[in-house]
């Protein structure tokens, strides 16, 4: 498949990719847990921009509101309550001195394996999956419903209504679990 990508899309992708990976590395590299959480918020915002680039408007907004908003506020709240200063995680030596080396080795093995699969095994670009799509591929597919959010809602309440109902049960269980765990016994 011959690729001729126009320059703005290309530049946007690379800037976003580098920023996302850098912010993701920040999550595991910062000593202070608050800095890790802020770096994670940055990663989530960059991922929301990725979703916008891929035409998933509703998910991008939900990502910003729920993930970068609600979930990370909860995270920051607990982090500032428990581990606002350096907990010795990075600076103090580990109980297992080989922990970091083995983790790095396993991480590189994972990256190598995934890249190998991406470049050789699946050959996703050509054969099985992708028809060459135009820029409004998804939008053209969902034009019958009048937009991304409308198509999403139609799919959610028709094809996926049972998982949607199960989700409410899951949230109630999580709520009760958090209340039970947070109770002073």
């Amino acid at each position: 498949m011959s690729i001729s990508v126009d320059t703005p899309t290309f530049i946007a992708f690379f800037v976003l990719a580098v920023a996302t990976i850098a912010a993701g590395l920040g999550v595991i590299a910062f000593k202070n847990a608050v800095h890790s959480a802020l770096s994670l918020i940055l990663t989530l915002l960059f991922l929301a921009l990725f979703y916008l680039q891929l035409g998933a408007m509703f998910i991008a907004i939900v990502q910003v509101l729920i993930y970068a908003g609600a979930i990370m506020v909860l995270f920051l709240f607990v982090v500032t309550m428990l581990a606002s200063e350096d907990t010795g995680d990075v600076t103090e030596p580990a109980r297992q001195p080989w922990q970091r080396g083995i983790a790095a080795t396993l991480g590189f093995l994972l990256i190598a394996g995934l890249s190998y699969l991406l470049f050789t095994g699946a050959s996703i670009d050509s054969a099985a999956v992708v028809q060459p799509t135009n820029v409004n591929g998804l939008a053209a597919g969902i034009a019958a419903y009048g937009g991304n959010t409308e198509a999403f809602g139609m799919a959610l309440f028709h094809g996926f209504s049972f998982p949607f109902e199960i989700t409410s049960l899951l949230i109630v269980v999580a709520l009760l679990g958090a209340m039970v765990l947070g109770r002073k016994s």
């Binding site: 991922l47 995270f75 983790a103 995934l114 890249s115 999956v129 591929g137 947070g182």
Partner: protein, 102 residues
């Protein structure tokens, strides 16, 4: 105007996932480990959205929506567990946690 190849997005997703795995393996603060898990969930979400785009289907976005709710529930329960561990032990280093009893 042509699309970017699908594998580029998947490579970004794979890199983010690997960063999350390394974070879980390296760090000993359970809060940072939790953030690394969130990173992995989001890497998977990125590949869901990518496939949703390239398969012209809205189903991938649906999965992301469900992953998001499950992640929210997981964060609520997990953070409650961490807080209650901190209450009993005054210490949240995972190296020290080797008993289930409170």
């Amino acid at each position: 105007m042509h699309e970017l190849p699908i594998s580029w997005y998947l490579i970004v997703s794979a890199l983010l996932f690997s960063i999350g795995v390394v974070g879980v393996l390296v760090r000993r603060n359970p809060l940072t480990i939790f953030m690394s898990i969130e990173l992995m969930l989001n890497a998977v979400n990125l590949s869901f959205i990518t496939f949703s785009r390239y398969l012209n289907s809205v189903d991938g976005q649906m999965f992301v929506f469900l992953v998001l709710t499950v992640a929210a529930a997981e964060v609520v329960v997990g953070l409650a567990i961490i807080v209650s561990i901190f209450r009993t032990r005054r210490n949240i280093n995972v190296d020290e946690m080797n008993i289930l009893r409170g």
